[in-house]
Symmetry: C2
């Protein structure tokens, strides 16, 4: 069974501005809350003018992310479209396994520039939501929906559409 004290964080680069994405996320927070502790860590997203500047900023973002994760004993899972994909059932098993001993899990969703290699090196797992590239706001919505779906699968709850 899924650990009752299941503790999941989602680390994102940049605030989501659009209220509709935030409302979608809020809907799933509400659904997940009875079964798991879910929290968010936000790294500031800086604007950039060109690809050279983008690389400098990506490095700076990576340093901020590493500061957040290096001192934690949490299991770090990065989202990367080039990595292993799961079906929803496989993802539920993965999540059940990783939280079975009460470990804190942190998912990292990169910004528009993706994640710097220094962050990817520090993660315990890298998973993909799809072979398609999603904008980071949609990726956050898909991730939280799949966390809720995983809980309904493990707890054998009806998923209300």
């Amino acid at each position: 069974m899924l650990n009752l004290t299941m503790n999941i964080s989602i680390l994102t680069v940049g605030k989501i501005k659009e209220s509709f994405w935030n409302e979608a996320i809020d809907e799933y927070i509400k659904r997940i809350s009875p079964y798991a502790k879910i929290s968010f860590i936000e790294i500031e997203n800086k604007a950039f003018k060109d690809s050279e500047q983008a690389n400098v900023i990506k490095k700076q973002e990576a340093e901020l992310i590493l500061k957040k994760i290096e001192a934690t004993p949490a299991i770090i899972i990065a989202l990367d479209e080039h990595e292993k994909e799961f079906s929803s059932i496989e993802f539920s098993k993965f999540l059940e396994q990783k939280t079975a001993h009460g470990d804190h899990i942190i998912f990292i969703v990169g910004g528009p520039r993706g994640l710097h290699s220094s962050v990817l090196e520090k993660t315990h797992h890298k998973i993909s939501l799809s072979q398609m590239t999603f904008p980071h706001n949609l990726a956050k919505v898909v991730l939280i929906e799949q966390i809720y779906r995983a809980i309904t699968i493990v707890k054998e709850k009806v998923y209300h559409y």
Copy 2:
């Protein structure tokens, strides 16, 4: 180049009730409109009590879907998580190719019970957005976002996050 008269429809089973999903869809309609004609076909989604009744309704829904697609010369593409996946770049090439001769394209997104085999048999292509199972409202959002992304790739436009 992407055909300027690119004509895409999305057929869905059931209305999306949540305003946040509809606002996300509206955002992408707005972004797509300068480049393509995008329209929606809705099939009524009926409630069901158990799996036996669900199968009867799935069959009835299939008949309604078939009525909408059998008379059209459009290229029919069903979304099914068990089918071939594309990267966003592959999807953009696919869409460019399929619309190159001015053909109308209809994407079909199934309801909570998926699509009946009689519909799947009538489609020209079956594609998957992810190995994960998405609720039909989120699947519609992901599809329209990927259509917009495909257009930005083909037209070499900057995608604004």
